[in-house]
Amino acid sequence: MPNPKPIPNSGFNLNSINGVMNTILASFNIPDTPVEPLPPPLIMFGAKLRPGLSADSIAAEIISRQSDAGRVVGDVFADGPNVEEAMEYIRVKAIVDALLTEAKVDVVINPGISVMTVGVGNLGAPVVSQGSTTAIGIGDGIIR
């Protein structure tokens, strides 16, 4: 008797569990649009008003909103303090500490910023001059 057709083990063939799962996993993929940039002048002035990250504030915000997700708030159990809340603080503190002490922002300024400079002419040779940009430089940064 002839051998049966082999069952494919991958790809999108619905004869195999892997094919079924690959098809389903692929259906979750949708292209993501890039975030819109903020107006540079607003960043230039508004960033100065920022208070900076605080683990205490973030943990307090999360703990105060625990009940929204159906979790118990406060020391309601007979076995002592609510360790879940303490854990929440430890978690947030670790993340904020890492951001404050380990994170690095790499910024790239796009070329093409207008610059006005002042210097003495040097008959076609390079000129040493002093100046400043006339427009806000726009750059892209990534946090690492």
Partner: protein, 473 residues
């Protein structure tokens, strides 16, 4: 990535998307989802997936679609597989011409009834309550039936009289054996009209003449496989029910097989745990019940009267729309009945969903059990005897599956392709809605975040911005 990890990843994505779009996920992926394992059964996995996405009614619609719209195609494909497999047996080394001893003037092929009736169907009278749910086209006399099993039951009631099936086969039942021939045998010859035709002609025309199954047969069979509703009424023995449990175990192994090659012969022997499970299953079916776990162990059953009502409803109409309605209503009723012993009302929806899930998960077993009845076994045993000699036979259903693994595999694939096609359609449609909702939510989130950052940079106090953000989530 291991199958179980991929399955968990999919359920995780659904839980995440549902949490983002609707709130917290409502189902746990532990005991609620039996398919979270390394087995390769796509159908169980998809039913779990649909259960987590939409729940009861979507599963009912999937069953109804499969059982009403897909059966004709499944039957056509299975018949094609049967013909190919029969042709393969014949082409293995015999003259394609019909052997003289099988022709109308020959002595014929002698087959013991027990060797074609592995699941004891012919012990039940078609006119009994249970028989009404097993046989089709129950006519008077039974030998006028268009269903071969019903026809054969009629032949067996008339010792020594020859009846002709669709001008293809002449069949005579002999209760008493003579000259070394055992008792209760069938003598089968090709009808005179086939004397000048080939064995392949007989095979193809015989398979074409059969009606394999209908919606009612399959639902009856599956409910019986799960709850023993019919078996307990017709008094099947524990021994017979154990045999059926063994067949189901082998089919499960074949369905769960993820290897490229078909399962090897070791799958046809059983471990101590499997044997214990067969005994337990047989005992429960003998009692007409199944054991379900909903925190506590509860006995669940679907009374035979529900199946009788369902069959009467379905036979009362030829309209597809009405049949769909009847099937939906009766499945709902049976699901409710299966949950009648559950103590907490909170568990009722879970048991009802599980009932429908079991119907889908047992579709392959139900259809193969119907195929393992005399109408199909007869044609294989005739060809087997022609090729391997008059003494050649199949010892039981397991032996038949073992010797026809390719056939069983191709039938299983035909059925699962149809079920998977329907289930995938439902699953992908629901995932698409979920993913679309998630994408809209994400776009909204980006816009809200931008607004919040603009306000923050403009000097609006962060507490005020947070309040407004919390109100928008």
């Amino acid at each position: 990535m291991a199958i179980i990890d991929k399955k968990k990843k999919i359920f995780g994505k659904i839980a995440a998307a549902k949490t983002l779009t609707e709130g917290l996920p409502k189902l746990k992926n532990s005991s609620s989802f039996p398919s979270i394992n390394n087995k390769g059964n796509s159908i169980t996995f998809l039913t779990d997936l649909i259960k987590s996405l939409v729940g009861f009614q979507a599963l009912v619609s999937s069953v109804v679609d499969t059982l009403i719209h897909s059966l004709p195609k499944v039957e056509r494909d299975i018949k094609q597989n049967l013909k190919i497999e029969l042709k393969n047996i014949v082409s293995c080394g015999v003259n394609p011409q019909l052997p003289t001893w099988i022709k109308s003037s020959g002595s014929g092929i002698i087959i013991e009834v027990s060797k074609i009736d592995f699941i004891d169907i012919l012990r039940t009278d078609p006119n009994s309550i249970g028989g009404n749910l097993i046989y089709n086209d129950i006519t008077s006399p039974l030998t006028n039936s268009s269903d071969f099993n019903t026809f054969l039951y009629g032949v067996i009631q008339d010792d020594g009289v020859t009846y002709t099936w669709e001008t293809i086969l002449d069949i005579t039942f002999n209760a008493l054996g003579v000259a070394g021939v055992p008792n209760n045998t069938l003598t089968i010859k090709a009808n005179q009209s086939y004397d000048n035709k080939t064995l392949t002609d007989v095979n193809n025309d015989y398979i074409n003449s059969l009606s394999l199954f209908n919606t009612e047969n399959i639902v009856n069979k599956i409910v019986d496989l799960i709850y023993g509703s019919i078996s307990s009424t017709i008094g099947k023995s524990i021994k017979q029910l154990k045999k059926e449990s063994e067949i189901n175990n082998v089919i499960d192994k074949m369905v769960n097989n993820t290897n490229i090659n078909p399962i090897n012969d070791s799958a046809f022997s059983f471990t101590k745990e499997e044997i214990y499970s067969h005994e337990l299953d047989a005992m429960n079916r003998k009692k007409g019940s199944a054991i379900i776990e909903v925190g506590k162990t509860v006995t669940s059953s679907v009374p035979i009267e529900d199946l009788t009502t369902f069959n009467q409803n379905m036979l009362s109409t030829s309209s597809i729309i009405e049949k769909k309605d009847f099937l939906t209503t009766n499945l709902n009723n049976m699901a409710t009945k299966s949950a009648s012993n559950v103590l907490s009302q909170m568990d009722v929806p879970t048991v009802k969903v599980n009932f429908i899930q079991q119907i889908i998960n047992n579709l392959i077993k139900g259809i193969i059990s119907i195929i393992l009845t005399p109408k199909i076994i007869l044609s294989f045993i005739i060809n087997h005897k022609i090729v391997y000699g008059p003494d050649a036979t199949f010892t039981d259903a397991i032996d038949f599956i073992k010797k026809n693994k390719n056939l069983t595999n191709s039938i299983m694939r035909t059925i699962s392709e149809e079920i998977i096609r329907i289930l995938m359609g439902v699953a992908l449609k629901e995932i698409a809605s979920l993913v679309a909702a998630k994408a809209i939510k994400k776009q909204k989130e980006k816009a809200i975040n931008k607004q919040a950052q603009l306000q923050s940079l403009g000097g609006v106090p962060s507490s005020q911005i947070k309040d407004s953000l919390n109100n928008t989530i």
